[in-house]
């Protein structure tokens, strides 16, 4: 549901992944505790009744709708829910009491192999707490800071922001994981040749790049005209010295 289509009295919690019943039940329990704590903290004088407005099974989307005799009560809690989501997404301190923080953090900690992302949605906007890279995406790989280049083929915001590059050497996908606040970096890169700087994970045997975490920069590389290499022909002619291999040999052999 787009945030601009949402009702002002509604809260949405969306879980993404292959959600088990147990994980769903846990998440809903924390969601209920969070809404309850926010209601008590933000609107202690005006009780709010929260009822289920919508349930979508496929992506485990729960929409609850509040009603109260005080017209300010529900918008206050909706806004509080949005602030909690943003704080979790940005890994900032949640600006409410321990009673609110506890279920909020418990919800975020629900991320595992089953729940890959949790989305907090209100009419004010949405916040996504993305999954950390899966264990199999880390184990058996060597990591080092560096740069990979390739064609950006797939962009995805499901289960966290991801960009798939196809490397020009092996034509294999390289999965690049971005943080939620790096969405801007993905803009305009589709189909383009880009360089990604980050922590590169390589498979243990062939050492092909397979994943990139902690991305620092994504740069669209300037397109080159096929045959433009000819502009470089003879460019050093004025300073040319014979036998470049001898000059390079001296350089390489220097102790």
């Amino acid at each position: 549901m787009g945030t601009n289509m949402m009702r002002e009295d509604s809260l949405v919690l969306a879980l993404e992944g292959e959600i088990s019943l147990e994980a769903f039940a846990q998440a809903i329990k924390h969601f209920q505790s969070l809404v309850h704590a926010l209601t008590k903290e933000i609107s202690p004088q005006a009780p709010i009744t929260w009822h289920i407005e919508d349930l979508q099974g496929a992506s485990a989307v729960t929409t609850v709708c509040g009603s109260s005799s005080d017209s300010q009560a529900v918008p206050g809690v909706v806004s509080g829910f949005w602030v909690v989501g943003q704080s979790l997404q940005r890994k900032q301190v949640i600006p409410y009491s321990e009673a609110v923080r506890r279920p909020a953090l418990a919800l975020a900690q629900n991320l595992d192999n089953s729940i890959r992302a949790i989305k907090f949605e209100t009419h004010l906007g949405e916040a996504v707490i993305a999954v950390q890279p899966q264990e199999e995406e880390i184990t058996g790989k060597t990591f080092a800071w560096g740069q990979v280049k390739g064609i950006a083929q797939t962009l995805s915001s499901r289960r966290g922001l991801k960009l798939t590059l196809y490397d020009p050497i092996f034509d294999r996908p390289i999965l690049c994981f971005l943080r939620e606040d790096q969405q801007e970096m993905m803009r305009g890169v589709w189909g383009k040749r880009v360089s990604v700087i980050g922590k590169i994970g390589r498979e243990s045997e062939k050492k092909r790049a397979v994943v990139v975490f902690d991305i620092q920069q994504i740069e669209i590389l300037p397109p080159s005209l096929p045959g433009s290499y000819r502009q470089a022909r003879g460019v050093l002619a004025q300073s040319a010295k014979p036998h470049p291999e001898k000059i390079l040999r001296r350089l390489r052999d220097e102790e």
């Binding site: 060597t142 080092a144 560096g146 740069q147 990979v148 280049k149 196809y166 020009p168 050497i169 092996f170 034509d171 294999r172 040749r193 590169i200 390589r202 062939k206 050492k207 092909r208 790049a209 590389l221 300037p222 080159s224 005209l225 096929p226 045959g227 433009s228 290499y229 000819r230 502009q231 470089a232 022909r233 003879g234 460019v235 050093l236 002619a237 004025q238 300073s239 040319a240 010295k241 014979p242 036998h243 470049p244 291999e245 000059i247 390079l248 040999r249 350089l251 390489r252 052999d253």
Partner: protein
């Protein structure tokens, strides 16, 4: 499919001959470039990013800064032309391979310098079908499982016309 690309590895000195415009060598290099371009991605030239630095070592001997900037831009057109060239990043896999090659060379009584080892390891990493160099690397060919030779082209191209030493 791109994964079926045949990789021809070039040592930095091959590029330097091209940049120097050495008349006796240019037709061969030009013919190889054209052969690669005509293959429409089935064949490509690869080199380590180290070649960029080694080329810059010679480039520094150019006279003025303004001249250098212009030269740099023209050299960059070579590195950026991905229709013919791919640069191989230096990474842990290549470092380990290079280390192993240096060790192997020592047991055979050769000295393999780090820069040479990085080039050879890069060529091995991409499984190059042939390595071209004007240096004497023949003693290392069994380490890379492919022939090492000086560039040669089956079909030599005609030399390009030049105006004020700029090819057109």
């Amino acid at each position: 499919m791109k994964s079926d690309v045949q990789w021809l590895y070039w040592d930095a000195n091959v590029f330097l001959y091209y940049l120097n415009g050495q008349p006796d060598v240019i037709p061969i290099i030009e013919a190889l470039f054209e052969e690669v371009q005509a293959s429409r991605g089935r064949k490509k030239i690869a080199t380590s990013v180290l070649s960029k630095v080694e080329v810059a070592y010679l480039q520094q001997e150019c006279e003025t800064q303004q001249f250098q900037k212009e030269i740099e831009e023209r050299i960059d057109t070579l590195w950026q032309d991905d229709s013919v060239i791919e640069l191989i990043e230096f990474h842990d896999g290549i470092a380990l391979q290079a280390r192993e090659m240096i060790r192997q060379a020592r047991t055979k009584g050769f000295s393999l310098k780090p820069a040479d080892a990085i080039h050879l390891a890069s060529a091995r990493w991409i499984e190059a079908y042939e390595i071209h160099t004007y240096d004497d690397w023949s003693r290392f060919s069994d380490m890379v499982d492919c022939p090492i030779c000086t560039p040669s082209a089956t079909q030599l191209s005609l030399p390009l016309k030049t105006v004020n030493s700029i090819p057109v």
